[in-house]
């Protein structure tokens, strides 16, 4: 039964692939992607409930392994896939109507979106760190097609940059995985077991310290490239800005988290053997990312790049929270992961809706979205407030938790964190407020009413979810996070 759910979670997103291969039009592909994503989310929730009730699930000698941490990430990523799937409907339909996308491009979108989602979810469900690597690299390849989809010279360029930098980085993570395998030499495990995370974690005390250190460093640099930790973040703004908006949402809210999940797995092993060795490293990379993200947000002309730099900043915050460590730090990191995933997914979908209306990503060409498109304008404004960590939205709660974790031991660093958050706040809010409010200008092309409704749906759902998470953490989520902490400490 649990195995069934595991398979459903990673196979349902392939519905879009089937629809696209069957030669359906934009509507069919979009609806199939949305249905597949929503189904995967439902299955992921059921899976999480089962894991909470029955404990961790393993099959095939640990090749399939779901503990609370993977369940938590599976729920987060599948929620993003569902929202981005719904967002794909209006994107594909409008672009088909306007002949901006050919049939081949529509088909490519359906196929790579489906594979991207399904490979990411599969990578969260394996306990084999080698397969985790293989699946993450494969999801990079699938998403590179999405980045290049619109076929402009700039999008090809961004896709090239993305694939070459990510592949380089991920190859470094592979070397890290090799060293991890090597550090388990003394464990008397069979070769097939030496990459299985629970087997390693159970014997973490016997891992060879020097090669484990090396493994962790290489994994942070390697998977950190996927997470977008500075200074390995250079592919991120280009890829996020050039990809179609639902794909940007997936990149920012799902792919980055998948990379962070891999880092958390390595960090758990390192912590178990070497104490707080990994924390300092994550603090350095985390602060570098927050600083780069915040500074590059100042006066950005392209709002998708603005959102992308905000992702760099938020991934930095999560890394810093993991670096603070302790129950409170990890709690804050995981809570921030789900909040940021929903918030950023919703913001990128909003940017997509803005682009469908104004056909530009330049901030100065857009003003007063609120007037002609009240739902999109409100989503833009409230979504920005939410992503900047203001109450009453979820990110306030998680950033507050992280700051509290920081004050127990790293007071100086916490003040630095707060200062950087202020810079980010001003830079970001200044730009989006001028777009949403401001004087109405810019040429407007409204999609048809049903498409406007379906395009607004994920924005409203995302905002409501963020509001809910800000006012009250559902007991299921709370338990899941607490059990995740138990699983990795």
């Amino acid at each position: 039964m649990t195995l069934m759910l595991v398979i459903l979670v990673c196979c349902l997103p392939l519905a879009g692939v089937i629809a696209a291969s069957a030669g359906m039009r934009a509507k069919g592909i979009g609806v199939a992607s949305a249905a597949g994503g929503t189904g995967a989310f439902a299955a992921a929730c059921a899976l999480a409930v089962r894991v909470l009730a029955d404990g961790s699930y393993a099959a095939g000698g640990g090749t399939v392994y779901i503990d609370p941490l993977s369940a938590f990430f599976v729920v987060t990523v599948s929620a993003v896939v569902a929202l981005a799937g719904i967002g794909s409907i209006s994107y594909l339909c409008v672009e088909e109507e306007r002949h901006a996308l050919s049939r081949l491009q529509l088909r490519l979108y359906g196929i790579s979106f489906g594979f991207f989602a399904s490979l990411m979810l599969a990578s969260l469900e394996t306990g084999n760190l080698g397969l985790l690597w293989v699946l993450i690299e494969a999801s990079t390849l699938a998403s590179a097609v999405l980045v290049a989809l619109e076929g402009r010279a700039t999008s090809l360029e961004a896709a090239w940059k993305y694939i070459i930098i990510s592949s380089f980085g991920v190859t470094i993570a592979l070397v890290g995985t090799l060293f991890l395998y090597y550090s388990a030499n003394e464990l008397r495990l069979s070769p097939d077991q030496r990459l299985i995370w629970p087997a390693l974690f159970g014997n973490a005390g016997a891992l060879e310290a020097a090669s484990l250190k090396l493994a962790f460093l290489l994994a942070v640099v390697g998977y950190g490239t996927k997470v977008g930790l500075a200074p390995m973040h250079t592919w991120l703004p280009d890829a996020h800005a050039e990809a179609p908006s639902p794909a940007s949402a997936m990149l920012s809210a799902a792919l980055l988290n998948t990379g962070m999940y891999a880092i958390i797995r390595f960090k758990a092993l390192t912590n178990a053997q070497l104490g707080s060795y990994g924390n300092g490293i994550l603090l350095v990379f985390g602060f570098a990312s927050i600083a780069i993200g915040a500074l590059f947000m100042v006066r950005r002309r392209n709002f998708k790049r603005l959102f992308a730099y905000s992702s760099v900043e938020h991934m930095g915050i999560i890394a810093v929270a993991l670096g603070f460590g302790g129950v409170l730090g990890i709690y804050g990191a995981l809570l921030h992961t789900i909040n940021h995933a929903i918030g950023k997914c919703m913001l990128f979908l909003t940017s997509g809706e803005v682009m469908l209306r104004y056909r530009t990503t330049i901030v100065n060409d857009i003003g007063g979205v609120m007037g002609p498109a009240p739902v999109v304008g409100t989503a833009l404004l409230l979504g920005s407030i939410a992503i900047l960590g203001s109450p009453p939205f979820g990110l306030f709660l998680s950033e507050f938790t992280i700051v509290r974790a920081g004050f127990t031991g790293h007071a100086g660093l916490t003040f630095l964190l707060l200062a950087l958050l202020v810079v980010a706040f001003v830079a970001f809010a200044y730009t989006t407020a001028s777009m949403a409010l401001g004087k109405e200008h810019g040429e407007l092309l409204l999609p048809s009413a049903p498409l406007r409704f379906i395009g607004g749906l994920p924005l409203v759902v995302g905002l409501l979810a963020l509001l809910l998470l800000g006012l009250w953490i559902p007991s299921g989520v709370n338990t899941l996070i607490l059990r995740s902490i138990g699983a990795i400490t």
Binding site: L131, V134, L156, W160, T171, L174, Y182, R301
Partner: protein
Amino acid sequence: MTIFSEAVLLDLLSVAILLLTFACLGSKLFDRYVAYYALQSIVLSAAIALVAYYLGAWDLWALAVITFLVKGVGIPVAIRRYLIIRLELKRDVAISTGISTSLIIGALLTAFAYFAVSPSSLPDGLIATSSVSLSTAIILLGGLCMVVRRNTVAQLIGWLILENGVFLGAIALVATFPFIVEAGIFLDLVAGVLIMLTFVSGLAHRLATTNASELRELRE
């Protein structure tokens, strides 16, 4: 131990791979890049076969055959036919650092790799201790190839060399690495090369150049 034991042979093969990497770093012709890469992959498959013989492991034999067919033949032929001949690439002019400078940097990196992963710091039980530091050097040199070359095809070959270094390290350090993972790595490699081939030829059509230094529309 005789002088031609497996360990010595494996070390010799690793040295050959390192020299071919240097040859690639010191060359300016696209034909040569691909030829050196193909030769290097064939030597790598011989190294894998040697370890397979030494350990008597069937999956390593399979890996040696796949390496030979995919890296030694398939990828070089595809790059030659679809990129070099079709795009009429001859001399690589987009090299940021002079050849002699990059060779010197490469030598320094090799020395660094030797001291960072020196054979004496590695525990006993390895088949060939020098191969680990040699493969570290190859990984660094592959990265260097990617950094000093601005042409997208040359960057692709740099990445492939880096990947060869990782594989050499894998068989020297952890010969018993699970086959299923290695097969998956291969699948990714092939898919990656296919997608990059498409991108590079797409880029060439759009920009009438495959020079990554001219990819600067996204500067901001």
